[in-house]
Symmetry: C2
Subunit: 362 residues, 2 copies
DNA sequence: TATGATGGATAAAAGGTTTTATCAACCGCC
DNA sequence: GGCGGTTGATAAAACCTTTTATCCATCATA
């Protein structure tokens, strides 16, 4: 079907070896005369020779391709925007270094080893790694290097992790809301996500920051955003004492905003809302969403560079890279002094004294 | 490095052929006894054999991989959302059929043939195909089938196209705004995009629909959204007579919305805004954006299916599949009767009579 | 007892590249 | 005239799989 080295060799009246050497520089000890070289180049150009990467990969066992593994890709356009940002960051760095990107999705945990070891890629970046010990062990023993992106690392990591300081990010939220005068903050969790390492870390950070600030925090301050948002609706109907809401991710935060708007609750005057993951999406909501930013593009690029390094210089010990988060303050948060007293009683004064005593902490 | 057929064969005390037959069903005329088969399976499992897809691809010249080509991928997270939707649709259909997806970007036009013919993929989907004749000719002669997605087809297509009725979509906008009473509508173009087939088709549809409705339309009714939006600002400052704006794409429409908001112009009471490409993004703007919807997920899946068909049954004549557009009416458009007369003079009456005479058309 | 199926299995080629080892020719030099 | 060194080039193995052709029994049939 395609033009091969053999075809070029025949056309130029030389050996395959010579053509390979000239066109791809392969073979250290092979020497070619200037005239032969030009003849070969001419023939290759005339025949429109295109090297067969598959054959080359078979020989060199390098594909110059990196796999990006998503647990559930079907949600890319519906899911949170940072998935797109991860993809974007990884892709940019790969393309810049002339690597190719292939996307894997719905890799069954049983065949995880096979999917990564079939020779189609040189390395893999795993987004939102699951926690199952056995899966992790399999990945660590995989024939190709694997980096975990955007997943909280366990205590004794078997792989290299690139993640953000979820706990610290949650703390930023508490500090921000505290500084604005908020004294009761609701944490909105998502159903089905509550046992992921990231969600756990965020909630932990939130809890601890509240404790240290002397803010009351009980299980009643956690509510789940399920599909029909019934828990949230219940909470809302009961005339909640909270003046702030921290949504565990961007999408839920957007949903809270919309729900508030529908209920005639004005953000930020009636309620301050903060989300996790500051993305372009947060700029288009109304009001724009205050959110924790993890430098996801940078992180994604870093993950790719780690793979390059491993491929060039051999494997390294598993390491954990944790990126600090920052807070992008936008229009969805405001001082409690702005709260209209119409809908709820001004709870912020009741906790005032306690807070003054503890001010040093956060 | 990896376990090969040979290893399994030795472990089971049989030939490579036998193992290949049992594990992959290859070789029509090869027959294996039940006991031998179980022995082979046992050995394969014990050694954790993983077939080498690269070697297999070399032999069969099939990779079960489809390439998705983006002209400029770097903009995925910044660019319009329908890029993500295209990717999502293609990916879903590929994965459903156990194909793999690899992403190509920044394929230089000179090496376009090489990038597609190096054996790494069985087919390609090209998003936003350029128009250059020579490139198209190269693609058509490519070793693998190529389908153009989301690109207006030329008169004599060399490839199969899956696109939407851009012209009809633009007409929907005119009809919608006309029905709401708008009589002067501004078309907002994007710099650098104005010569793409899609943009041309949209503008053409807009022009024709205006003509047929008897709406005045001159070159003054087209304005470019450049980087600092200076043209748009000029237009705006001059106290434009338009009551409606049609932005050629989603992102520009969003920018117009924001600009209007900053200028204290209320959408939709002061101005109606319509965009092209109705995506999740349009639901998060304030107000939600009325926009033309092309069934992009369906189109993307269709493109993938065309490739499957070509790969299974051989090439077909180039065809053009044009999907009709619909209009998602959201909050950014309203009847002109709602226009507050404070900021601009009521231009809609001046054209009234002409319109009544031509009412039958749209 | 040939003949012909049939079941069970293997050898070997092919696919396109990389790379090592080998070879021929030539030159210069003792 | 034999030796070492250099230049220019090639043959052939290896990478791992698929697939065709071949082979050897065995067994039934004429």
């Amino acid at each position: 079907m395609g033009v091969t080295l053999k075809d070029v060799a025949e056309a130029a009246g030389v050996s395959i070896t010579a053509v390979s050497k000239v066109l791809h520089g392969s073979g250290k000890s092979v020497r070619i005369a200037k005239e032969t070289e030009t003849a070969i180049r001419e023939a290759a150009h005339r025949l429109q020779y295109v090297p067969n990467s598959v054959a080359r990969s078979l020989r060199t066992s390098r594909t110059r391709t990196i796999g990006l593994v998503f647990e559930n890709f079907g949600s890319l356009s519906e899911g949170p925007m940072y998935y797109v940002l991860m993809l974007d960051g990884v892709a940019q760095e790969l393309f810049r270094n002339h690597y190719r990107l292939t996307i894997l999705a719905e890799v069954s945990h049983k065949h995880v080893g096979g999917a990564l070891s079939d020779g189609r890629m040189d390395g893999a970046i795993w987004c939102k790694l699951p926690m199952e010990e056995e899966v992790l062990a399999q990945l660590a023993q995989s024939r190709i290097p694997v980096v975990a992106l955007n997943t909280e690392a366990p205590a004794n990591p078997l792989l290299t992790y690139v993640s953000c300081d979820n706990e610290g990010g949650a703390r930023l939220v508490v500090e921000h809301l505290y500084a604005l005068g908020h004294r009761r903050v609701l944490y909105v969790m998502e159903i089905g996500e509550d046992d992921t390492p990231d969600a756990t870390a965020r909630l932990r950070g939130f809890r601890r920051a509240c404790q240290e600030a002397g803010l009351p925090f009980s299980e009643d301050d956690i509510v789940f955003w399920d599909r029909d948002a019934s828990q949230f609706a219940d909470w809302w109907r009961s005339g909640p004492p909270h003046t702030g809401v921290f949504a565990w991710n961007e999408r839920v935060a957007g949903a809270v905003l919309r729900r508030a708007h529908e209920s005639g609750v004005h953000v930020p005057t009636d309620l301050s809302v903060v989300g996790f993951d500051s993305t372009p999406f947060c700029e288009t909501t109304s009001p724009p969403l205050t959110a924790v930013r993890q430098p996801i593009l940078e992180m994604a690029k870093h993950a790719a560079r780690i793979l390059f390094d491993t491929l060039d210089n051999g494997p390294d010990e598993p390491r954990v890279f944790t990126y600090p988060c920052t807070l992008d303050v936008r229009g969805s948060t405001a001082p409690t002094s702005m709260v209209r007293r119409t809908r709820r009683k001004p709870v912020e004064t009741s906790n005032g004294p306690i807070l003054d005593a503890e001010r040093g902490h956060p």
